[in-house]
Structures are given as structure tokens and as C-alpha cells.
């Protein structure tokens, strides 16, 4: 069963007078529970594709369906709700809220969902324990290493049990040991919680973990490899 369905998705950016064709009619389908990497060189369209799936950006044409919901039939507020309840994000630069502690960052999404404080705390602590940050609840992002921050970001992305986690180059700022540890955590989450992970990456280690690699080049799918 597909969790993501894209049909002939096109996107063109305007940089001054220059038109950049970021996506040129991409069609793909990603199964629920997948561990998928969108790979390719810079400018190939992988981050744009991830943004489209996450509803952060709108396609010029084509059809995107996430969790059975068709984006073209939804307004911005509905897409924002879809992001809140169904999609988790992990960014290359961690992008935690700097004024909140690790546990507050993880709780934040649940707070937006209206989950009671007791429940939030219980779940946030449990997920931070799972990613190996049991003694770092009250540390602010500036007091954590890059790897620890990215683990908080993963915890934040999966704590509210989304259907999909979109991870944009999650290991790019990490050393190989830390990156490997993080990928193991995400793989475990994928296997245990059945959360679908979609990465944009050109890190070979991520591709090693991925069960499916979709290679993009110049806004088109160059190769779709299922291991």
C-alpha cells in the first residue's frame, strides 16, 4: 500500500530571469513502512521533491497524494495540519528551537497537537531514552553535540507517531560514527514502529541502509533501485 504517490510532478523556480526546472515530471510511489533514499548530486531535485511530499512547497503541476490525501484538493491550513499529525521532519542543520531544552523540543510538536502535559512528558522522555539521551533532557541545543542534536531532532520527528519522516541530508553535518549511530536509530524506528523514512542524501552510508534508492538527475528519475 502506497503512503506517497506522485504523478508527473513538475516544479520550476525563477532565479531572476533564469528558469530552473527543479522537477521535470516525476512520478513515483513509496510503500508504507519504506526506508527510501532520494539520491543524486546537488541540484538534482531531491530536496525539492522532499519539500513537495512534506507540503512545504507546491508543485506547478502534477498530483501528490500523501496518506491518501490529495494536496491539490487541500488548502494551506489543511496541509499544515497534515504536516502536524502525519509528517515528521529531520533537517540537515538539526534546526531545533534554540530556546527550548531537549525534552521541550520533543514535547513541542505534541503540544501543538493538544496532547496533555503529563502524556507529553512521558512520551518525550521515553523517546529520548530510545535515542540514547536519557541524561540530557534539560540540555539546550547549544549544550549538545551535533549528533545529540540530530538525535533530538529524530525524537521530535517520530514522537507523535507520524506516518512518514522526511529527512533532508540528516548525516551531512555528522562524522561517520555519529551518522552511523543515528541511522541505526532511524532504522530501528522504521522496523519497530513501521514509520516510513524518506531521505534526501548523497551519503553512501545512508544509501547502504536504504532498502530502496531513487536516483535523481536534472529533476528526473535516473534510476529506481530496490534492494
Amino acid at each position: 500500500m502506497s503512503i506517497v504517490e506522485c504523478v508527473d510532478v513538475q516544479k520550476t523556480y525563477h532565479q531572476g530571469k533564469v528558469q530552473v526546472h527543479a522537477l521535470r515530471g516525476i512520478s513515483l510511489s513509496i510503500e508504507k513502512g519504506g526506508f527510501v533514499a532520494l539520491a543524486g548530486p546537488s541540484g538534482s531535485g531531491k530536496t525539492t521533491m522532499l519539500n513537495m511530499i512534506g507540503g512545504l512547497d507546491q508543485a506547478d503541476s502534477g498530483r501528490i497524494v500523501v496518506g491518501g490525501k490529495v494536496f491539490e484538493n487541500m488548502n494551506q491550513s489543511q496541509i499544515a495540519d497534515l504536516r502536524l499529525y502525519n509528517v515528521g521532519f529531520v533537517f540537515q542543520a538539526y534546526n531545533l528551537i534554540p530556546v527550548l531544552s531537549a525534552i521541550e523540543n520533543v514535547e513541542f510538536v505534541m503540544l501543538l497537537q493538544g496532547i496533555p502535559a503529563d502524556e507529553r512528558q512521558k512520551r518525550a522522555k521515553a523517546i529520548l531514552d530510545e535515542v540514547g539521551l536519557e541524561n540530557k533532557y534539560d540540555r539546550r541545543p547549544a549544550e549538545l553535540s551535533g549528533g545529540q542534536q540530530q538525535r533530538v531532532a529524530v525524537a521530535r520527528a517520530i514522537v507523535s507517531n507520524p506516518s512518514i519522516v522526511l529527512a533532508d541530508e540528516p548525516t551531512a553535518n555528522l562524522d561517520s560514527v555519529t551518522g552511523n549511530g543515528l541511522l541505526k536509530i532511524m532504522k530501528d524506528m522504521n522496523e519497530i514502529k513501521k514509520v516510513t523514512f524518506i531521505f534526501s542524501t548523497h551519503d553512501s552510508m545512508v544509501m547502504d541502509y536504504a532498502r530502496r534508492i531513487i536516483y535523481l538527475r536534472d529533476g528526473q528519475i535516473a534510476k529506481d533501485k530496490i534492494k
Binding site: G54, F91, V99, L100, E104
Partner: protein
């Protein structure tokens, strides 16, 4: 603590120096406003009280049209009935009767046209500062009004112009209420200096009873001068006098005029001064508002990526706007409260010790105030300025806060 408040509080201290400077600007504006408004209110009250005590009282009861025409024929015919009513009015602190006539007064050397005022020496002392303004000689209180000699008090400047001194005689020539010629010789018993040049240059006071004889007043007077227990009570006293006075003199329909009607020049001077003050305050507040605007525009530029991420994970634009408004409101409240407290303390110090204004304010000296001036702290002076700062800075913060609503997550996240 709710997460929005927690985040707002932590956010405002992310750049402590900038936050401190912004709060300091708000506090400084609040201090200036509290002090200046208290200073203005204090000086206005001093001007009013000084003018009221020298000249008009808080209120006057007169015949209709007397204020404009100053005709000797426009009289209060039964002052005793009015006095009886005033005696029963608890808000009235004191009152006195006066009669006035424009007359020519001559010394051996010179002649001037001036206002002769008949006063009841005893009750006048409770209403005006005339008695305490005597610089040479004695007040009329100690004289016997039944004597043939008409004792008089004369303004220092008038005495100088007429080239007379204590014990000298002056010839007075005017018109009586019945149209007859009013003529008398008065003897200078006291010379006063009120501080109000206009008053000291053109007035002579004699006992009311003798004034009534000289000017054929037949017991009538021109003004019942009333002083309330405080300036704030004037409107209430006026309302009660208007209602009560109808029963005492229904024929002449006496008028009750308050100090603003009696001294329109003073009221206009206060309004002008307040108006120019308000323009200065608005400029000051706008400068502070720009400081807030700058702080938040900088915050938005610095935190665009963060806002993008927050939107990506599900934060609504409304919540981000609210967060920024809480931040601006918190800084404004801290600055405002600090400023109001410090401003009140500084003002209180000067309220106790006064400010030396000798020779520095032409406006105030014109109204008989010289020496030290005392600012007057009030709820209005403590609250109104800082509240204006708060409202305007809050409005200034609305622009950057609403700017967030136009952010698109994908562009915000890629913001460098």
C-alpha cells in the same frame, strides 16, 4: 508556565544587550513622561492656585453679564442670602464678598485709571493671599471701618507709579451705582506685592462697607468669591451652587462662574503648554517605537529559518505572531514598569524638595509663581505616559509580527 510565555521570555534574552537597550529606551521614555507630566500638572495646579488665591477664587457668583461688562450696575443685591446658602454648603471652604469700580486715582504727582475693590477684610483673608502679600504697612483687618478715614491697600507697582508711600493720601473719583459722582480721599495703610505685575499695577483695596458708602451700593456687591476645599471639587461645587443659587435670588438669575471662565487666559495658557508638551511626548514615544520596530525586524531576519522550521513542524502563523507579540509586550511591560517606578521615585524626590525655577519660567512668573516649583505625582501622571508608550510600542511591534504571516516555510527554511 505556558510554553508560549516560556519561549517568549527566553527569546527576549537571546540577545541580552539589544534587549537591555530596548528596555532601557522604553524605561527612559517612561521616566521622562512620568516626571514631565507630574511637573506640568504640578505647575498648572500652582498656577491655578496662585491665580485663584490672588484674584478670582475657585468660583464666583455674579450678576449676569458682569464678567464681560464689569458695570457697577450689575450687582448681587442680596449677598447675605447667598452667604446663608454658602454657610450650609459643606464643600465650600471659604467665601467673601467684593465690590469693584473703575476709578481715577490721583496723587499729588500723577493720575491713573485703576480698579478699586471693596473687600471684607476678615473673610478676604480666608479666601485670598492679599493679607500675606503685604510688604509694608498693615492689612485692613486691624482698622476700624467706621472711622472717617478710608484706609486702603495699594499694589507696590501702582504706589511706585503714583509716587506715594505709607500714610499718603489719594483722591478717588468714580461713578456710583446710582449714577452719582463717587469721590473720596483714601489713606494708604498697606502696600502689597502679589507677584502678579498686572494686579500690583492697577488695584487698590478698601473696606467693603466704605466702598458701598462711597459708590452708593445700597448694600449690594459685585462678586461672591468662593473657595472650595480642593481644585478637583470645583465642578461638583459649581453644580450644587447653580442648583442652590436659584432659590436665593430668583429675580436676577445669578451666574456661577468657575476659574476657567473667570480666567480664560490661564486656561488657554495651560492648554497651549499641555499641547506643546504632548507633541514633545509623541515625538519621544515615536523614537522609542522605532527602537522596538528595529529590534523585532532584526529578530525576524535573524530567526527566519527558525520560524520556517517551526512552521514545517506544524506551528501556525497565528501562533508565531502571538509569540512575537508576547515578546514585544513583555519587553514593553518591563520597560514601562521600570520607568514608571524610577520616574515616580525621581518625581517624588522633587515633589518633596522642589525645583528651583527662579527667573527661569516667564509663563509661571506671569501667574505669580517664582522660587521653587513642586511636581505633583498623581495616578494620571504615573500611568498615562507609560501607557501611551506601551500602546504605541505595541502597535509598532504589530508590523514585524504580522510580517511573519507572509513567510512561506520553504523559503524561510532556506533563509541564510
Amino acid at each position: 508556565m505556558p510554553i508560549d510565555l516560556k519561549m517568549a521570555w527566553r527569546n527576549i534574552w537571546r540577545n541580552p544587550r539589544r534587549t537591555f537597550l530596548t528596555i532601557a529606551a522604553i524605561a527612559f521614555a517612561s521616566i521622562i513622561l512620568v516626571f514631565m507630566l507630574s511637573f506640568q500638572f504640578g505647575s498648572y495646579e500652582a498656577m491655578i492656585n496662585s491665580s485663584v488665591k490672588i484674584q478670582t477664587g475657585h468660583l464666583q457668583i455674579q450678576a449676569p453679564g458682569y464678567k464681560d461688562k464689569q458695570s457697577i450696575h450689575m450687582v448681587v443685591t442680596d449677598p447675605e442670602a447667598v452667604g446663608a446658602f454658602l454657610n450650609n454648603s459643606s464643600e465650600v471652604a471659604a467665601y467673601t464678598f467684593r465690590a469693584r469700580a473703575f476709578s481715577l486715582v490721583s496723587s499729588e504727582e500723577r493720575t491713573y485709571g485703576i480698579m478699586i475693590t471693596g473687600i471684607d477684610p476678615s473673610s478676604e483673608a480666608g479666601v485670598s493671599t492679599l493679607k500675606t502679600s503685604i510688604r509694608r504697612g498693615k492689612y485692613l483687618f486691624e482698622e476700624n471701618p467706621n472711622q472717617e478715614i478710608v484706609p486702603a491697600l495699594i499694589g507696590e507697582l501702582l504706589a511706585r507709579n503714583l509716587q506715594v508711600g505709607l500714610g499718603d493720601e489719594l483722591t478717588v473719583l468714580g461713578q456710583g451705582r446710582d449714577g452719582s459722582i463717587a469721590a473720596s480721599v483714601i489713606h494708604i495703610k498697606g502696600i502689597y506685592r502679589s507677584g502678579l505685575d498686572e494686579f500690583d499695577r492697577a488695584s487698590i483695596h478698601i473696606p467693603l462697607q466704605q466702598f458701598q458708602d462711597i459708590y452708593s451700593m445700597r448694600g449690594a456687591i459685585h462678586e461672591v468669591v468662593v473657595v472650595g476645599k480642593s481644585l478637583r471639587q470645583v465642578p461638583e461645587i459649581k453644580k450644587r451652587l447653580l442648583a442652590g443659587i436659584k432659590t436665593t435670588d430668583s429675580k436676577s438669575s445669578l451666574r456661577v462662574l468657575d476659574w476657567m471662565e473667570l480666567m480664560p487666559g490661564l486656561r488657554q495658557a495651560i492648554e497651549m503648554d499641555l499641547f506643546s508638551g504632548i507633541i514633545f511626548y509623541i515625538i519621544l514615544i515615536i523614537v522609542v517605537a522605532f527602537s522596538i520596530l528595529n529590534t523585532f525586524l532584526m529578530a525576524i531576519i535573524e530567526r527566519t529559518k527558525e520560524f520556517g522550521v517551526m512552521m514545517a513542524i506544524g506551528t501556525t502563523r497565528g501562533r508565531l505572531t502571538r509569540l512575537l507579540l508576547i515578546e514585544s509586550f513583555s519587553m514593553t511591560v518591563i520597560g514601562m514598569v521600570t520607568g514608571a517606578v524610577l520616574g515616580s521615585l525621581i518625581t517624588w524626590y522633587f515633589q518633596v524638595n522642589g525645583i528651583d525655577i527662579s527667573g527661569s519660567s516667564e509663563l509661571l512668573s506671569h501667574y505669580g509663581i517664582s522660587g521653587r516649583l513642586y511636581p505633583k505625582l498623581s495616578l494620571a501622571s504615573i500611568i498615562s505616559g507609560p501607557m501611551a508608550v506601551m500602546i504605541i510600542t505595541f502597535l509598532a511591534a504589530l508590523y514585524p509580527a504580522l510580517k511573519i504571516r507572509r513567510l512561506r516555510p520553504v523559503e524561510a527554511i532556506s533563509h541564510v
